[in-house]
Assembly symmetry: C2
Homo-oligomer: 217 residues x 2
């Protein structure tokens, strides 16, 4: 176990990034929590940006692979009578299950994932967005393609917007999960978990997906 240093850094960085975001966590807090010298980050990852990329790559790889595998299995055993709510929920449940899957390995990865999506969509020039879609876009495009089939009455543009409204449910739930779970436990003495949130939002996203279109498109 020569390079436990690398893993300790990755774990500490993931935890800190998930709790305080990328810019607001310093390399000094990461290296001190990892019990590692400050210079180790630049030595092993080149820069802070390199560390962020390593942290995200660690779960984005498994996430997209798992998602892709599940989607192709789903598509093969496809009951041709789709277009009903059941099938839509199955598809959304696949996404949820992929998220759960990566969370088993790296506990804070989903919160980091949510922060990643949020920052990608909050810079309008979209450098990060391009990088993500170039590196990991295939699986998510695959997902969108299948989702699109269940919302045939919409135009492409309407689907674009609806999809991102659904994404909002997912991203906000993930990035706020720690706070929400804490409030929930304090306020309702209920011991829920991120896993349960992921099954929770599936029917909610499904209903949101099927809401009627009334705007002046």
């Amino acid at each position: 176990m020569t390079s436990s240093t690398i893993d300790r850094i990755l774990d500490a960085a993931e935890a800190e990034f998930s709790a305080h975001g990328f810019v607001e966590t310093s390399l000094r807090t990461i290296t001190s929590k990892a019990k590692v010298n400050l210079a180790a980050v630049n030595y092993h990852f080149g820069s802070k940006k390199g560390l962020i990329q390593a942290v995200t790559d660690r779960f984005l790889g498994p996430l997209t692979q798992n998602l892709h595998a599940q989607l192709s299995a789903y598509e093969k055993s496809f009951s041709k009578s789709h277009n009903d709510e059941q099938e839509l929920q199955v598809l959304l449940a696949i996404l949820a299950r992929s998220c759960q899957h990566v969370a088993q390995q790296n506990h804070h990865s989903l919160a980091v994932f949510a922060r990643l999506i949020s920052t990608a969509y909050s810079q309008s020039q979209g450098h990060l967005r391009k990088h993500l879609s170039y590196q990991y876009g295939a699986s998510f495009l695959y997902f969108m393609k299948l989702l699109r089939k269940h919302m045939p009455e919409m135009t492409d543009e309407q689907f674009f917007w609806r999809f991102h409204y659904l994404l909002g449910i997912l991203v906000f739930s993930l990035s706020s999960s720690e706070a929400l779970l804490a409030i929930c436990e304090r306020e309702y003495a209920s011991n829920r978990s991120l896993d349960q949130i992921m099954v929770d939002i599936v029917p909610v996203m499904a209903s949101a997906a099927q809401a009627p279109i009334i705007g002046e498109f």
Copy 2:
């Protein structure tokens, strides 16, 4: 117009905060965009934190006042045969309209609002959350109370989660609006606006609110 300095700072700060967040925008970029001396911020607002508070107070005041006024007017002329989807949409449309209202005055206020909510829910200790609910919580609690009536079949805890899923749609749409509108124009040659997004999400949030409960609560 002796203190146009203050307004120029507030406008520049609002624009920068909406585009790059609170921590990632420096006082130097704000003051240079406002064509104002660097020290002016500390002179007029005491600190950067004071400036952030001034920026948010400027629209949170009008927002909550408008929301409260609309809600009490709605409650007075209340068709007692509620519990149907129409009424739910009316209520959600009130929230949307209040958002539109403050956006007319300060163009980037809604994106700042979204960032405020996001940061409030991404720190689990919740200092900002407490401050916001102490200062502006009344109107939003009022809104939640009325919304609760339209979702009577849920437990309080289930309502808590569902409410925050709806909040996710709103917050993500607002904080990503600039990027999404840019993509939409480039990809679909469609000239949409934040206003249209706000009417868009009303039926989506309504459907999400009425999704069946299936989780193991």
